[in-house]
């Protein structure tokens, strides 16, 4: 879909709101190392996989943010950043910009502020977030369900059908699990939950997916309570 950069694209959003989000991006500790200035040399675009498939240009995002063009920034924040593949091929920028890194920061701001575009981009992604936050591993064997990966062919079904047996037929003792990538010890999970608690990650989840937040909070609070921690995520 063609990117609409027209001036009235988000006319209904007050300029002050756009500026507030822009300043949040600029205040991030990574910002100064991710964006210097832009030559418009196009090196980032040429190396970019997403630029080949979408109307997506790391150059335009870097240029808009470097110009401090708040209106353009807001358009990219909503309509463009989720196309990025986060491969960091653009890191070769001669000005040493990291358009991919800049986009990481912009995504975090979009999530923290619960932008509708961020919620939409992350639809269908909740189970991954749930998995990583609650179990400490991101991709679990039991995710290999044919309904989730129809384009990967019948082989997914074969794995799914044989999952328990095939996991047992793995010599490393830590890999016999099906609900997590490997067996993570209880103490480790508790430590991970405490990290989420101390770094405010749950607040981000709450902004972008209230339902997911509630499920996660329940799971984690209960587990922490069992271990004697009185922690609430609210």
């Amino acid at each position: 879909m063609a990117l609409d950069l027209s001036q009235n694209r988000y006319a209904e959003v007050p300029y002050e709101e756009k500026e507030r989000l822009f300043n949040e991006v600029k205040r991030d500790m990574r910002f100064d190392e991710y964006l210097y200035g832009c030559y418009e040399c196009g090196i980032c675009v040429a190396a970019c996989p997403s630029a080949r498939f979408y109307d997506f240009s790391p150059r335009k995002i870097a240029q808009a943010v470097a110009r401090e063009d708040v209106e353009l920034f807001y358009i990219f924040l909503n309509d463009s950043i989720w196309d990025c593949s986060q491969c960091f091929s653009c890191d070769r920028c001669p000005r040493q910009n990291s358009p991919g890194g800049l986009i990481t920061v912009m995504r975090e701001v979009a999530v923290k502020n619960g932008l509708a575009s961020a919620q939409q981009a992350l639809e269908g992604y909740g189970r991954i977030v749930y998995k990583i936050m609650s179990t400490g591993t991101q991709v679990s064997p039991d995710m290999l369900q044919p309904s989730a990966f129809p384009d990967w062919g019948p082989h997914v079904k074969e794995i799914s059908d044989n999952l328990d047996l095939w996991r047992k037929a793995l010599p490393p003792e830590t890999l016999h699990t099906t609900e997590t990538g490997w067996q993570v010890s209880d103490k480790t999970i508790i430590e991970l939950y405490l990290i989420w608690h101390h770094t405010g990650v749950m607040d981000m989840i709450k902004e972008v997916d209230e339902g997911l937040f509630m499920i996660l909070a329940d799971v984690m609070e209960e587990r922490l309570e069992e271990e004697g921690y009185d922690v609430t995520f609210d």
Binding site: E40, C41, G42, I43, A46, A47
Partner: protein, 352 residues
């Protein structure tokens, strides 16, 4: 009595002009050159024509060398390097080393003219394949081919049908640590582009650039003719990669004007390598204890009003050892250095 001679290190265009200047002003010029002949990089790298006037480099360098070689006030030390220096303004003692051994010479002032070296494309941040593909060459390599009137693909000896230049290789790049513009590459690439069009009229020529930096008369003398008369294609956008597909090179970049990724076939890719301080420049900064900037070029301390005075009294620097310089800059600063060095000798003599 203070020494009435000026020692000049480096026999390239700047050193030759400085030596001639000192000698013409009636002072002794001691010229030290590490190679067995004069002419510097234009001679050593076998340049074809000079930028911007297309004058044959060999002839121009011979003229400069002759003016010095036959000058009664010039003492020439070829095959010699400076290995140590002591003393101060009016009374330097400089140690020269050559095949015969070590020799000490006295001088009242010193001019450093040790120039630059071409950036090594092996350190390029992009993937240009200079060390992988025969048909990826540098501006310097193309000069040699132009001089020999043999512009062909190194891989198969055939004349190219499509040739491109990629600008800013090793310049204007924070990742490499060379943030500066090398000043001459836009002009040289455009000059070479014209020459390629003259020698191989069937060959299409492209220049991929960030900005074309063709200041002053270079605009009308080179850039416009290249675009208007010789139909050189100027494309805003720098290549990220040079790839090989079959026996053809592919240049990948963004055509920034039209905002689209591009992959275009080329027979020859010429990397417009920039300038870095030469080994001699770095060495002389150490030997004479001169301040250098973060790029290891010799620092001049007079700002815009004095481009040749270094941090050490009595030692001057000119040409590309102080930063990227074209021939016009180098000759101008060499004359300034000669004048300042001689003035310094006279002041010291008057004070004595």
């Amino acid at each position: 009595m203070p020494e009435q001679s000026v020692l000049i290190v480096g026999g390239g265009p700047a050193g030759l002009e400085a030596a001639r200047g000192v000698a013409d002003l009636g002072y002794k010029a001691i010229l030290v050159e590490k190679r067995n002949r004069l002419g510097g990089t234009p001679d050593e790298a076998n340049y074809a024509a000079l930028t911007p006037d297309f004058r044959p480099a060999e002839e121009a360098m011979r003229e400069m060398a002759d003016a010095v070689q036959n000058h009664p006030n010039v003492e020439l030390h070829l095959n010699s390097t400076v290995t140590a220096a002591s003393g101060s303004v009016g009374d330097f003692e400089v140690t020269l080393k050559n095949a015969k051994g070590v020799e000490k010479v006295k001088a009242g002032a010193v001019i450093i003219a040790t120039g630059f070296t071409h950036f090594d494309p092996g350190r390029e941040t992009q993937q240009y394949g200079y060390y992988e593909f025969d048909d990826v060459i540098t501006l310097v390599d193309l000069e040699k081919m132009l001089k020999a009137h043999k512009v062909v693909r190194p891989s198969n000896g055939q004349p190219p049908k499509r040739l491109c230049f990629i600008q800013c290789v090793g310049s204007r790049d924070r990742q490499i640590g060379n943030e500066y513009c090398s000043k001459v590459c836009c002009g040289i690439a455009s000059k070479e582009a014209i020459e390629v069009r003259q020698q191989v009229p069937d060959c299409k020529v492209f220049i991929f650039y960030i900005d074309m930096r063709m200041y002053g008369y270079w605009e009308n003398e080179i850039y416009w003719p290249a675009q208007e008369k010789y139909k050189v294609n100027y494309i805003k956008g720098i290549a990220t990669e040079v790839l090989k597909k079959g026996d053809q090179l592919i240049v990948r970049g963004e055509d920034a004007t039209f905002g689209r990724p591009m992959e275009v076939p080329m027979d020859i890719v010429v990397l417009s390598v920039g300038m870095e301080p030469s080994a001699g420049t770095k060495e002389m900064a150490k030997v004479f204890g001169l301040e250098t900037n973060k790029y290891n070029f010799i620092e001049t301390i007079g700002g815009a009003l004095n481009t040749v005075t270094t941090s050490k009294e009595g030692v001057f620097a000119c040409g590309a050892c102080t930063g990227p310089a074209d021939l016009e800059d180098s000759i101008s600063s060499a004359s300034a250095a000669a004048l300042k060095a001689v003035s310094m000798l006279r002041k010291v003599a008057q004070a004595a």
